[in-house]
């Protein structure tokens, strides 16, 4: 994925570039609106990450200028957590927005969602190692053994499996599975993951549901067994 980051705060720009490059993206960085507009107009990016407050030309102006020429997807970063900003950003043609301070995981998830948007239909079957999921019949197997899951447990499994290899924060999981659109300050997700893990992972090998401490959870088949895999909490 080819990305342009327009961000004047050097530390933010630096970690975004580093993090996104490591995720396999080709990342260009502009530190002000003028450079950003130039790059955005000259090159064809898959997504542009655009800070709203910029020296030179501000993000909204840049966005309007860009939209007159092309439809590159744009994620706005806005420091002011106000409704007007969001409305203004979306009205001007931003595809999504994030309120600062945002988490890197959140940005990653939004980028992937934007990329997915254009993609063809979702698969109906998922397969990770020997885990098999039928999204239509809402059934899952580990090898040949059928796993008995409640509706929400299946939804949780499907959310994780669809985003295979993608780290999902607890907040993101709560939103995707239960439509709880806020920081809930509760350990519900931890408990739900623990119970899912008991059904899907504990009796089987390889382990697929991993805890990334401080960040969230990821479902993927790893080369070797995790040494520092945390015990279920």
């Amino acid at each position: 994925m080819k990305l342009l980051i327009v961000e004047d705060e050097p530390k933010t720009a630096e970690y975004l570039q580093k993090g996104l490059t490591e995720q396999g993206c080709a990342v260009d960085v502009a530190h002000n609106g003028v450079d950003g507009q130039h790059l955005a107009l000259v090159h064809d990016y898959d997504v542009i990450v655009l800070d709203a407050m910029l020296p030179g030309i501000d993000g909204f102006t840049l966005l309007r200028a860009l939209r007159q020429v092309k439809q590159t997807p744009v994620i706005m970063l806005t420091a002011r957590d106000s409704i007007e900003d969001r409305v203004r950003g979306l009205h001007d043609g931003a595809d999504d927005y994030l309120v600062k301070p945002f988490s890197f995981l959140e940005l990653l998830a939004r980028l992937q969602a934007l990329q997915r948007r254009g993609r063809a239909q979702e698969p109906t079957q998922l397969k990770i190692a020997n885990l098999q999921i039928d999204l239509i019949a809402r059934k899952a197997w580990r090898g040949s053994e059928r796993i008995d899951l409640s509706a929400k447990e299946f939804a949780l499994l499907a959310v994780l499996a669809r985003r295979q290899g993608e780290i999902l924060s607890k907040t993101a999981i709560a939103e995707l599975v239960w439509d709880m659109n806020f920081d809930s300050n509760t350990n519900v997700v931890e408990v739900a993951i623990k119970r899912l893990r008991a059904k899907v992972d504990n009796a089987f090998s390889p382990k697929l549901l991993h805890t990334i401490r401080g960040m969230g959870y990821v479902m993927e088949a790893r080369e070797q067994a995790d040494v520092d895999e945390e015990p279920a909490t």
């Binding site: 957590d81 709880m180 806020f182 809930s184 300050n185 401080g214």
Partner: protein, 458 residues
Amino acid sequence: MKRSITTRLVAMFALGALITLSLIGAALYGVLERELTRDQDDDLNTNLQNMRYSIERFGDLEHWARMQTKMDTLSPADGSVRFWVLSDDPRFLYGKGLDEMERVNQGEAGHGMLTMPISGHTYRTLSMRIAAFADRPPVRLIVGVDTAPFEHTLRAFLIALTLLTLGAVALVMALGWWIARIGLRPLQRLSLEARALRPKTLSQRLQEDRLPVELEDLTVAFNGALGRLEEAYQQLEGFNADVAHELRTPLANMIGGTQVALSRPRSAAEFEDTLQSNLEELERLRSIVNDMLFLARADQGEAATGLTAADVAHEVEMTIEFFEPLLDETGTTVAIEGELRAKATMNVALFRRALSNLLQNAIEHSAPGASLVVTITQRTGALWIAVTNPGATVAPTHLPRLFDRFYRVDSSRHDAGDVHGHGLGLAIVKAVASMHGGATLATSDAGLTTIGFSVAAA
């Protein structure tokens, strides 16, 4: 220019005095004029009747000469009373300036006004017709009284009245100024007192006992405002301390952990561990900051947007469903009671957030296996959602403060391993309620604690 109460009072006193005195003056003037007129009329009538009697009875010239003499006698030298007799027979004419009279006074019998064209004197007249008798043809007898003294009296009275009124108004103004100054003295004292108030002396109040009744209301209201201000100020100070305390722990953990990690050569795994630990603390900080921003917006009076008409019981079910893993784990059950068909206009995400904070709170403060109840109550103007949990009774002194930021009934409870909350959960419930024009309630009795909030009914 600023309006001065003293000036206004003086002006109003003056206006009042002016109106009162003018009315009195006008009335007096009217009375005087009427009395004087009646006096003149009496005078006229007496003279007329007197002469009429004399004239009526005789018709010869000899008597007529005597009549003339009588009229001469009755007419004072200053001309204040005059007689005229008009007749077709020139022998029976009498009076000065008869030519003029005939021209100006062709009127009928009765009262009239008459201005002598040459002398300019104005007379009030009374005339009557006397029938012919013997030699005498019918004559017209006119008696006139000069109005000059009458008008002079009235004019003098008017001037005196005006001067007196103006003088009285001036006196009232002076007195009014003095009265206003004295009357406003408590206000001056009050403002001096108020000026002495400082943030440091917020507990100070204005003295109420020595004040007049009119100022007492104001002072009581002002003192009430001071009280609320003091409370808010103390709460703010306490709040700052709480925030600092709340932020200090994760910061200290991060600084200490990082210092320890850097003080020796470490393996990558050890550094990773440190970073992960830091990340946990940072997530905690982020969550506190986000919640505080949310509360700040609610404090600024931001109302909930994105309102939709929602089925309340459905939203309650959805939120309980979210807690299901946790409820299963602890064997806790939740029942929904009350008006299950109720609808409310609200921001669904905020509603779920508030309710999930209440549920989290209820689960935390009840033993495993407890039965929780979510009650939906429809009251006039508001829809209440309350969560009841069995658990230790909360002392009444704590109840109203449960919704304060960082307020903990038992400070040790926090340290006992409550890793999820940071003391803002119920404050957020209150904020959500206020964003929906609602309120909060907390009761605790006989081992049952109920905490709830309302949203304004659609």
